[in-house]
């Protein structure tokens, strides 16, 4: 539980940092997405496999935990009360359960794109992806991938048509689909709760804390959870409020 959780927390943090590029020029996230999709040596699938294993392991251990714990108390108390357990700690199974469906929806929404098949058609041209690494490199950090794949599969052209992730996200979260945004924001709230207990619990389960570090780690967990929430939730909020607008309107595609 703790080990798979650790992997997932790492992923969540990285994913959030990547997403926050939405607040920069659209080329940042578009190039980032393009290059993630075109990682050399099949690294994309390596990462995807690791994530899948982590999620599956997390879910299986969670289900086993719930079942075992259920068996350990076949007869429930009639009077119920709580002493110091946080709301987050008592609702891990529920937040986790909802997050599982969120992940599936999220993948269908933006990765497989079968919620909005038209997203597949969003396209934008990126200038100077390869070759001289000219203009783009000065704006994004992703030029580093070019060195990796200078002789790889990138086309030699000066400009490249790539999937317009920026607009996809902006449209996906646009006021038209406000309910999607709301679902995302709520889910991120649940994720925040889940992490609040999950991160500090992870250290406890791995035995990596003591009386001194207990409070510190609890606070660190709290800060990470809040940062993750703000980081992720800011994007749908920005799209809803018009701070982020698609560069390729969806209508143009049709």
């Amino acid at each position: 539980m703790a080990l798979s959780g650790l992997v997932l927390v790492g992923f969540v943090c990285g994913h959030m940092l990547g997403n926050l590029q939405m607040f920069l020029h659209s080329d940042w996230i578009n190039e980032y997405a393009y290059k993630l999709q075109h990682l050399p040596y099949g690294l994309l699938w390596v990462v995807r496999t690791v994530m899948l294993i982590a999620v599956v392991a997390h879910v299986i251990t969670a289900v086993m935990l719930v079942l075992e714990n259920h068996r350990a108390r076949p007869e429930k108390y009639v009077a119920r009360d709580t002493l110091q357990a946080s709301f987050a700690s008592r609702t891990m199974r529920y937040t986790g359960f909802i997050l599982f469906f969120f992940i599936i929806f999220h993948l269908m929404h933006f990765t497989i794109q079968n919620v909005h098949p038209e997203f597949k058609d969003l396209e934008v041209r990126l200038e100077g992806v390869s070759g001289s690494h000219g203009s783009l490199e000065s704006r994004t950090i992703w030029g580093v991938y070019d060195k990796l794949s200078a002789h790889g599969e990138f086309p030699e052209s000066e400009a490249l048509a790539v999937h317009d992730v920026y607009s996809m996200v902006a449209i996906g979260f646009s006021p038209t689909y406000w309910y999607v945004s709301v679902f995302y924001i709520i889910s991120m709230g649940l994720l925040c709760y889940h992490l609040m207990h999950g991160i500090s619990s992870m250290f406890q389960s791995l035995g990596l804390r003591n009386a001194i570090w207990r409070v510190r780690l609890d606070r660190i967990a709290l800060v990470i959870s809040l940062v993750v929430f703000v980081g992720f939730a800011s994007i749908p909020v920005a799209c809803l409020t018009g701070l982020i607008e698609p560069i390729t309107p969806l209508v143009a595609v049709h």
Partner: protein, 260 residues
């Protein structure tokens, strides 16, 4: 010592024996002195029941001063009642108000089956102890007590863990019926002291193994146990045991721990 009398209603779990089904019964008690202890109140209720030709309520108790760990009872959903750092026998009726309804249930968990009414069988805790809750040494063959200096800080910390009275409230309050706090207190006490070091890995593996085999639930680090513990045993001991167990497991995998 201002004494008052209150009237209360009790909802008590009654169960003839381990194999019978149980149910709640409701009793009314008039003029209970607020200076009496909770168990004294039950004593009086039992006298009342005998008077009415009914079976008295079976409940565990012995020292009645909060140290033997025999008393149990889940009072309004919390083992030993809601007051901090108290056992049921130390709980006094002044913690209740006139007209209160109090629900009394036995500890609920699979490893602690109900024996009768509010009495449960806690022998799995002994089994965990028998698996490794000791220092292997011969009685009568000890060196001079001061030949092994132990820092005051360490001795105090070991004492914090050793304060456990083995009442099982941690299991009873845990939403998962986990015995981690109990087990970790004993593992920690012995593993942190130099006397217990030589068999540290073996102890962690064996005691955790016995705990799992007994059918206790798993720890999800919720912390109710620490709050319900009448002796204030800290959750930090669980982290400590997790660490000892992880290290021991790796060592065992690498063949560095003998037969367990």
């Amino acid at each position: 010592m201002s004494e008052r009398n209150i009237s209360i209603t009790l909802k008590v779990w009654r169960q003839k024996d381990a194999d019978s089904a149980g149910a709640f019964e409701t009793y009314r008690m008039e003029s209970v002195s607020t200076s009496s202890s909770f168990l004294e109140m039950l004593d009086l209720l039992n006298e009342q029941l005998i008077e009415e030709d009914k079976d008295p309520i079976a409940f565990d108790h012995d020292c009645r001063e909060g140290i033997c760990g025999m008393c149990s009872l889940v009072i309004n959903g919390i083992p030993h009642g809601k007051n901090k750092l108290q056992t049921t026998c130390q709980l006094h009726m002044r913690s209740f108000r006139d007209g209160d309804t109090i629900t009394i249930e036995p500890y609920r968990s699979k490893p602690f089956p109900v024996t009768r009414d509010l009495v449960v069988d806690r022998t799995p805790m002994d089994t965990i102890m028998q698996a490794g809750g000791y220092v292997t040494q011969r009685i009568g063959a000890a060196q001079d007590a001061n030949a092994l200096p132990i820092s005051k800080e360490l001795a105090d910390k070991a004492m914090d863990a050793a304060a456990c009275i083995g009442c099982g409230a941690c299991v009873a309050v845990c939403p998962n019926a986990s015995a981690m706090l109990f087990t970790s207190a004993k593992v920690s006490q012995l593993n942190m002291l130099p006397q217990g070091k030589p068999e540290k890995d073996r102890r962690a593996l064996r005691m955790v193994g016995a705990m799992d085999a007994a059918g206790f639930g798993n720890c999800t680090n919720i912390g109710e146990c620490e709050a319900a513990c009448p002796k204030g045993i800290s959750l930090d001991f669980i982290a400590r045991m997790n660490r000892d167990y992880a290290v021991a497991s790796v060592k065992q995998f690498l063949g560095m721990v003998g037969s367990v």
